[in-house]
Amino acid sequence: MRETRETSSSTADPRQPPAVKPYAPPRILADELPFDYAGFLAVIFGITGLMFRYKICSWLAIIFVAKSLANMKNMENDLRQTFSAVS
């Protein structure tokens, strides 16, 4: 009995159009965003480079800014969120 039931339902189309749920992207608050290490390091290097006048620190800051921009994620296409994440 069980097997026939299984086979019948397995051969039947598993799709159920009325049961469709549209995509709801998970809401992530700005506080809970994954920490942007590259951006943080960029700020640290930039400040060190400006304060102590080390050339290489400032160049490393620029490199880390580039890395942070490259890893930017558009979670909800929210411009404000991406701006806060980048900054």
């Binding site: 995509y23 930039g46 050339k55 400032s58 160049w59 490393l60 620029i62 890893n71 558009n74 991406t82």
Partner: protein, 504 residues
């Protein structure tokens, strides 16, 4: 055949680039570059100033000394000042006073008048104040002739060496800039190359498993995050290395979300780090089951190391499940590499069917097809908003070999059906029920305690605010009382006169 498109992300990227945030970072970068150039210019100007300043001072001293000496005839012709003009060894210039003093005893017998002049030059020459000057002053002198004759590079002596050191200094000062700018150029090139590689992998997967007549098309009525029309994009690009595929409209489950996490090929620094730490392209299927479709199931299957870490990290596995050390009797079981963590052995035995063992988890099958399998986690006590979840994690093969993971991907709809239909036996149900009731009670207690804490906080805050208001009121009332008292006193002063008059 609809080609899978990445529509949403394109709009997002365009919107992102047009935003102020990007401009702010470009401005910051420009500020940093500007600070370097300032730094370089100030350094150059300071070094030049050293030469210029002392050059002028030296000329003055030279003239005075010359005048002082020419006014009196001298036996020994070279006065200390002229030694500056000669490009002799630097050592002689370190101590002009001793030299003049050595001059003095030589000529002391003949001209005692020389002495006061020697002492006067000594006054001009304070050794401590002008230490090191003679060396520096010497350098621009030979420097001035060579720039006028740039072809004469073979000039002997200090001049040429000084000039080449200056040239070398200029070249070496830009080494850092050259290295960093070239790194940035390589970074930009790698960004576009890596981005395309990641997109290619994602599109290959989608074309294999998500397009028309593919496995997901046959199982789900809605594919992709769009409106469900023909042109809607199938994949959602969240970042340069994260892609999502959504499907819905099937029996037993609400939705399926496949998240592809690829290596960060677009980021040069991450790419270098990946050489040290091995990271694989992974795809995680998250199936949200219907409330009535899933019975009490807490089960995880993975390689031994991964299984142990999952058992420690996942709260539901920690709480409800235990490692299944011995396989069930009289049955083929999963490969040696794999470990099963389950709440109930009976449930594990029922869910890891013979079909699955033959196809994927058995010894032979696992050697052939199991390389891409990472983990499997079925739970109805998931911590978070959705309680009933099936989580399957696989490694993605190369873009050209996508068909290798077909067997693994077929596990997904297979297990949706198996778990959707599965009902626990009475024994297993009683065992699992007890643990869950306990967990539910504890959760309820925790909720109550947090609610009480929140209420207490609110009450204390209200009290504080009311007290402050009362204090404010009291101060206002005190003022009013004082004013009233004053008025009554004034009134009293006025009224008695009238009364006295009347009485009389």
């Amino acid at each position: 055949m609809a080609k899978p498109k990445l529509g949403r992300w394109q709009l997002a990227v365009q919107g992102c680039l047009s935003v102020r945030g990007d401009a702010l970072f470009i401005l910051l970068a420009v500020l940093f570059i500007f600070s370097f150039f300032l730094h370089e210019i100030t350094r150059c100007s300071v070094v030049a100033a050293d030469f210029e300043g002392f050059d002028a001072d030296d000329l003055e001293y030279e003239d005075e000394a010359n005048d002082a000496f020419h006014s009196q005839p001298l036996k020994k012709p070279p006065p200390p000042s002229t030694t500056f003009t000669q490009s002799s060894t630097p050592e002689s210039h370190h101590s002009p006073p001793p030299q003049s003093s050595s001059d003095v005893p030589a000529t002391a017998s003949g001209e005692p008048a020389e002495k006061p002049y020697a002492s006067s030059t000594l006054d001009f020459w304070d050794d401590d104040e002008f230490e090191g000057i003679p060396v520096q002053i010497e350098e621009p002198r030979p420097k001035s002739p060579p720039p006028s004759e740039p072809a004469d590079v073979a000039g002997a002596g200090d001049g040429s060496t000084v000039q080449t050191t200056n040239r070398r200094w200029r070249h070496s000062s830009y080494a850092v800039e050259i290295v960093c700018i070239s790194f940035l150029i390589v970074f930009a090139i790698n960004f576009f190359i890596g981005k395309r590689q990641n997109e290619l992998i994602a599109l290959c997967w989608a074309s294999q498993f998500a397009t028309k007549d593919s496995i997901f098309d046959k199982n789900f009525s809605l594919l992709g995050t769009g409106d469900g029309k023909e042109d809607a994009p199938l994949l959602l690009k969240e970042g340069q290395d994260v892609f999502k595929f959504y499907a819905s409209g099937r029996r037993y489950c609400q939705s399926l979300l496949a998240t592809m996490e690829l290596r960060s090929r677009h980021d040069l620094i991450a790419r270098v780090m990946d050489l040290l730490l091995t990271k694989r392209d992974t795809i995680t299927f998250e199936v949200a089951m219907n409330e009535d479709a899933m019975d009490h199931v807490v089960l995880a299957v993975a390689r031994k190391k991964t299984a142990r870490s999952m058992h420690k990290e996942a709260k539901d596995l920690q709480r409800f499940a235990a490692v299944m050390a011995t396989p069930p009797h009289g049955r083929r079981w999963v490969a040696e590499d794999l470990m099963v963590v389950t709440e109930s052995k009976e449930v594990a035995g029922d869910l890891i069917t013979d079909v699955v063992i033959d196809q994927v988890f058995g010894e032979k099958a696992f050697d052939m097809f199991g390389k891409g399998f990472i983990s499997l986690h079925f739970t109805d006590q998931h911590p978070g908003s959705r309680k009933k979840l099936l989580l399957l994690k696989f490694a993605l093969p190369d873009a050209n070999n996508m068909a290798d993971m077909t067997r693994l991907v077929t596990l997904v709809p297979y297990y949706i059906d198996v778990i959707g239909r599965y009902k626990l036996s009475a024994q297993a149900r009683t065992k699992t029920e007890a643990a869950r009731v306990k967990a539910a009670q504890e959760a309820f207690k925790e909720m109550q305690s947090t609610r009480q804490e929140a209420l207490q906080k609110r009450k204390s805050e209200k009290k504080k605010s009311s007290e402050e208001a009362a204090e404010g009121k009291q101060s206002a009332e005190a003022m009013r009382k004082k004013q009233e008292k004053e008025r009554s006193r004034q009134m009293k002063k006025l009224t008695p006169k009238v009364k006295m008059l009347r009485s009389h």
